[in-house]
């Protein structure tokens, strides 16, 4: 009698089912772990993460932090992880811009524009990413040799070794430029606040975005010259066979970045298009009938509503991009997987290395999702 009541109680039933599920999962996990450990021991392999402290003795040319062949495996992993994060952040930034611009342009009433964007989206979405990564890599490697590479105003060089940019050399007194930048941002922020207040009080609209741009770029620039150019640029110089000085971005990073952003950008364009189309025509008409111009209608009416539809699939696209960056291994960009592979071969600690991959991607994905869910909840619609 009592047992039956618990079983038919909606809440109790939910709890019991979940407990049973967790128990089953734990059992399966315990079986896999004990089985693997036993197998490894039989094969005479030590398990555990002690190997992370051993010397790596291989080189990594693409690195954001200090590293050489005497560093440890652990440090090599950090270098790889940072490289993955670098290309993922650059990729997400570019893919978002490409995606929003292309998504809006595909809805353009201009037949020519919408067709061109449509062709880009269809083509990019339907060719495997791996092939696109290799394609861009081959394109860059097929660029002229360093000697007769392409130069833009003798400061930016493009050749089969990648892209070479001027590298800033910080000298004494450069700090004041940072101060100017901070000041520019602070003033812009103040202006934005004042402008909002002034609009509230008097109704006048102030061009905040334009003024802000001018301040944030102009102020540090003026300071730079007033302070007697305290930052020098190590401008690449074309030697006979090589470029001297400057700062090089490898062909692998460029290829991976371009491929990931154009590929994911095409998917985001579709997400954005669907989002905008999900806002009914009636909204545009009501806004127009009230006298709002198309630009304001887009900013104040369409996009805020479209974003609610766009954010969840946009999150998956960000996660896809991050995970897809592991295809870097195909062209030798030294991301976490590529470096992990080398470590796996040298140390034989396959299971541990793979567990590190998983933990790494899981952490990044969970963090991304948490952030996007928070943002989505903030803009959720209030319904009855």
């Amino acid at each position: 009698m009592r047992v039956q009541r618990i079983w038919t109680d909606e809440r109790a039933r939910g709890v019991i089912l979940q407990l049973l599920l967790i128990l089953a999962l734990l059992l399966v996990l315990a079986f896999i772990v004990s089985n693997t450990v036993a197998n490894l021991q039989r094969a005479g392999l030590a398990s555990g993460y002690g190997f992370l402290g051993s010397t790596a003795s291989f080189d990594i040319n693409q690195r954001l932090i200090q590293y050489d062949s005497t560093s440890t495996y652990g440090r090599a992993f950090v270098v790889g992880g940072l490289n993955t994060i670098l290309v993922a952040c650059l990729g997400i930034l570019a893919a978002t811009i490409i995606g929003f611009v292309a998504g809006v342009m595909r809805l353009s009433r201009n037949f020519f524009i919408s067709r061109i964007v449509g062709a880009y989206v269809e083509f990019t979405r339907n060719v495997p990413l791996l092939i696109q990564i290799i394609f861009w890599w081959v394109v860059i490697l097929a660029l002229p040799k360093v000697r007769d590479g392409i130069s833009f105003g003798d400061t930016l060089f493009l050749n089969n070794r990648g892209v070479r940019l001027p590298a800033p050399i910080i000298e004494d007194g450069a700090g004041i430029i940072l101060v100017a930048l901070a000041l520019g941002i602070a003033i812009t922020w103040q202006i934005a606040r004042r402008a909002r207040k002034r609009q509230d009080e008097t109704g006048q609209i102030f061009p905040v975005v334009r003024t802000g741009f001018a301040l944030i770029i102009g102020l540090p620039l003026v300071t730079y010259f007033l302070a007697g150019s305290p930052i020098d640029f190590d401008i690449p110089v074309a030697g006979k066979f090589n470029l001297k000085g400057g700062f090089n971005i490898t062909p692998e990073l460029v290829a991976l970045w371009v491929a990931l952003s154009t590929y994911t950008g095409a998917f985001i364009a579709e997400v954005v298009r669907a989002g905008i189309l999900s806002v009914g025509k009636g909204q545009t008409e009501a806004s127009g009938a009230l006298g709002l111009r198309p630009g304001l209608t887009m900013r104040k009416i369409i996009l805020p509503q479209a974003l609610r539809v766009i954010i969840p699939p946009l999150t998956s696209q960000y996660l896809n991009l991050t995970k897809n960056s592991s295809l870097a291994v195909a062209i030798g960009y030294q991301d976490i997987v590529s470096i992990g592979d080398t470590i796996m071969n040298q140390s034989g600690q396959a299971l541990e290395v793979i567990s590190i991959y998983m933990l790494f991607y899981l952490t990044i994905s969970v963090l991304t999702s948490l952030f996007m869910n928070w943002y989505n909840a903030r803009i959720a619609l209030v319904e009855r």
Binding site: Q199, D200, E201, T202, G203, Q204, I205, G280, G282, Q283, E285, A286, S287, G288, A289, L290, G291, L292, R293, L296, K300, I301, P304, Q305, I379, L381, V382, E383, R384
Partner: protein, 246 residues
């Protein structure tokens, strides 16, 4: 007719091959209240949507308060500022509160200070009898309340002319009444109104003229009493027979 606020002459419109509006001539005097009726698909919505350029016409001219509708964005802007519109589906902005719905256009188009826009919006919300809902979102209101907000939202732009496209067709009977009351109120305040509706009670109570459309043409127009008592064309008789037998 120099005293007419809307002057439509020789208006023709096609949707592709389909001839929706055929040679429409219509003059509306300031403060006049006109009810437009007719069978479904006869072009009533299309006609009033041409007046604020939600639809583009191909032939003829539409002059609103001295400005002729052309491809010039300035002309379209200034006409839209004079003409308010209420839709069958309300079309409130669901991501903004009732108050924000009413202040958005005054702030961004008429460039009013926020406080002034809000005071004015509260005034109109009182006039449509829902000041207590100001901070709710449209999704939290009943259909009748939403439609009244939509009317208040339009009034906040101080239009000289109000267009209504079947404002009560999506509502339950008891809500129809509350919306019609607001519209009667508005009519009595001297607003120029063009109302597409099949609410014949409303037509006989406030309309100065009833226009019957069929097949893209104005078939008949008359003062309400004559229109209902002595319809001239057979098509009008047939239509009135169907409507009134409901």
């Amino acid at each position: 007719m120099s005293d007419s606020i809307i002057s439509i002459s020789g208006l023709n419109k096609w949707f592709g091959e389909f001839h929706v509006l055929r040679d429409i001539n219509l003059d509306v005097a300031s403060q006049e209240r006109i009810v437009i009726c007719g069978p479904s698909g006869s072009g009533k919505s299309t006609l009033i949507r041409c007046i604020n350029r939600l639809e583009e016409h191909q032939e003829g001219s539409i002059i609103v308060d001295g400005t002729e509708l052309s491809h010039d964005i300035k002309d379209i802007d200034s006409i839209r500022r004079e003409v308010g519109m209420v839709f069958q589906q309300f079309n409130l902005f669901p991501h903004l509160t009732v108050l924000e719905n009413c202040t958005l256009a005054p702030i961004w188009v008429r460039k009013l200070p926020r406080e002034e826009a809000e005071t004015q919006a509260m005034g109109y919300l009182e006039r449509v009898r829902i000041p207590d809902q100001a901070n709710k979102y449209p999704g939290q209101l009943s259909g009748g309340q939403q439609q009244r907000v939509a009317i208040a939202r339009s009034l906040c732009m101080h239009p000289k002319i109000m267009l209504f496209d079947e404002p009560t067709s999506a509502l339950d009977p008891e809500m129809i009444k509350e919306v019609l009351e607001v519209m009667v109120d508005l009519a009595q305040s001297g607003m120029t109104m063009l109302v597409v509706t099949h609410e014949m009670g409303f037509a006989s109570q406030v309309a100065d003229r009833v226009i019957f459309m069929d097949d893209g043409q104005i078939v008949e127009e008359n003062i309400p009493s004559e229109f209902f008592e002595n319809p001239r064309s057979d098509r009008t008789k047939l239509f009135l027979g169907q409507i009134l037998s409901h």
